[in-house]
């Protein structure tokens, strides 16, 4: 069994950062220059606010500037930033793929805090700034496979969930984690009366050993930038060997539990979506195939179908977590 994170100390120079990521950073920096110039020219209240980012955002910007590169980047073409931020499933903003980017323009992160409770030494609340302060950020280039059979390759920025878990001081009885997304129709318009499609809050869960796996990431950025609202600002989960809906966005509460928590999609359609939701080409969704995926970007002339891999290609890293389990039943 090879644990990839063990090679962190010794990456080959050529593997440190793919060129495309490098160039995207450059583009972003020049973009920042333009934004700065634009803001200087306009004197509106909105731009004044943007000119003086809150302490949280200043801290995050500083940290993003010293992000450690992915120690072991996968050798696959990155999905362009444009696609990553405009093709999203985030029902708090609407059910269409374009709804999140369209309906999140006025989303404000602050005020934001994360409640830690359940089987911990002492429940507490973390303000956003305090939450990210102790963690060094790392880039992780992960495959992202949606249960709807499309996929992306995304350079996320974040820190291991395991680091956050140890700060929470869970007790010995903590066997599961339960995550909760913010409920606020002011910030999430599709949570408003008459527009809701699913019960709120959105809830996801992981087994403790899954959550502590080195691949499990708390994400605060993407492509070297602050995580946009439509991608789950300010804090989201990323568990790359599971279907995308497990990677809950805009987290406000993490509870440590003794029992497996019921999750949103499980409650909505347990025949179609299980608690584990590990990417598995051998187990089809009842209404569509999971054997292959449409890797974005694609075009009208080439849907770019590729075979789906077990555990989304992370079998070597995570298969041991499920040894002896019947993954057809525990899908």
């Amino acid at each position: 069994m090879q644990i990839k994170i063990a090679r962190l100390s010794d990456p080959k120079p050529s593997e440190i950062t793919p060129e495309s990521t490098y160039w995207n950073r450059r583009q972003w920096l020049s973009g920042l220059g333009y934004t700065g110039a634009m803001l200087a020219l306009t004197g509106s209240a909105a731009s004044a606010q943007a000119q003086s980012p809150s302490p949280w955002e200043q801290l995050l910007q500083q940290k993003l500037a010293s992000t450690a590169p992915d120690p072991d980047p996968i050798d696959e073409t990155l999905t362009p930033y444009e696609d990553v931020i405009r093709y999203n499933n985030f029902y708090e903003f609407g059910t269409g793929k374009g709804d999140p980017v369209a309906n999140s323009k006025r989303f404000k992160v602050e005020p934001w805090s994360v409640r830690i409770d359940g089987a911990v030494q002492k429940p507490f609340t973390l303000q956003l700034e305090d939450l990210i302060k102790p963690h060094a950020l790392q880039e992780r280039i992960y495959r992202f496979r949606c249960v709807e059979a499309w996929s992306m390759v995304v350079p996320w920025v974040g820190f291991p969930l395991a680091e956050l878990i140890s700060r929470c001081e869970p007790t010995a009885s903590a066997k599961y984690l339960r995550f909760e997304t913010l409920v606020d129709p002011q910030r999430f318009p599709a949570q408003g009366f008459g527009r809701s499609t699913i019960p709120w809050p959105y809830v996801e869960g992981l087994r403790m050993d899954e959550a502590q796996h080195p691949l499990s990431l708390m994400v605060v950025g993407v492509y070297g930038k602050v995580l946009p609202a439509q991608n789950g600002a300010p804090l989201r989960l990323m568990v790359p060997w599971k279907y995308g809906f497990k990677s809950i966005k805009s987290i406000v509460r993490i509870s440590f539990l003794e029992q497996q928590p019921p999750t949103t999609w499980e409650r909505l359609a347990s025949q179609e979506y299980g608690f584990y939701a590990n990417v598995n080409p051998e187990v089809d969704h009842p209404r569509w195939s999971q054997k292959r995926e449409r890797r974005l970007p694609n075009s009208l002339f080439d849907p770019n179908w590729i075979p789906t891999r077990k555990f989304n290609g992370y079998e070597n890293e995570v298969a041991h977590l499920y040894a002896g389990m019947n993954l057809r039943k525990l899908y």
Partner: protein, 209 residues
């Protein structure tokens, strides 16, 4: 009367062409989004369904508004619907499946909603083929019986649409409610409600022509 009939047809044709024109424009501007084939297939299917529902609404409109003029829009709406659904299927095979016959055959044999959709489209073919006035006149009462298939087509299309959605239930429910309402008016009309000379049950009027 013929003038108003022509005006109605012109309006129907121009409105029915709008979604396609908009899609072609988006295509030319590279504005179909991050997974263009999926978007195209969904849009074509959605508008085909809307137009099918519109064609089904013409008889109830005639009954409710006591205005036979609406019947002139039924045929163009049905044909436009068939046209959109044919494009929907073509885009599905060419762009979405990428003309990969392993994928096409798997989708057709294993996905219930794909089978329902395909059945619905196949049943539309004889209706489209017998849509001209001369064939209709020659077929007489058999034409009426054949074209009652549209009710089955609509029900199949509805379940195709509803089953394909992941959770988007607002649109399927809306289509379902409208369909039930349209069927309800026809049933009531057959039972003798809304009777007047203008609004005699459709089958009686047709068999005279």
């Amino acid at each position: 009367m013929p003038g108003r009939q022509n005006l109605l047809r012109a309006v129907v044709h121009s409105l029915a062409a709008c979604p396609l024109a908009s899609l072609l424009w988006e295509m030319s501007q590279n504005q179909l989004g991050s997974d263009p084939a999926t978007y195209l297939v969904h849009q074509l299917g959605f508008w085909g369904l809307v137009l099918l529902w519109c064609s089904l609404a013409m008889t109830p409109l005639r009954i409710l508004l006591r205005q036979p003029l609406w019947m002139g829009a039924r045929r163009p709406l049905g044909l436009w619907s068939f046209f959109y659904i044919t494009l929907h299927l073509t885009a599905f095979i060419l762009a979405w499946c990428g003309l990969d016959f392993a994928i096409v055959s798997e989708e057709i044999t294993e996905r219930p909603y794909v089978i329902l959709g395909l059945m619905s489209w196949l049943l539309m073919m004889p209706l489209a083929a017998t849509s001209t006035h001369s064939i209709r006149r020659r077929m007489g009462a058999r034409w009426v019986r054949l074209h009652r298939l549209v009710y089955l087509i609509a029900v199949l299309a509805f379940f195709h649409f509803a089953l394909a959605a992941k959770l988007e239930y607002v649109k399927p429910i809306a289509f379902g409610i409208v369909l039930i309402f349209l069927f309800f008016i026809r049933i009531k009309a057959r039972q003798g409600r809304f009777t007047s000379i203008k609004c005699a049950p459709l089958s009686l009027r047709r068999s005279k022509s």
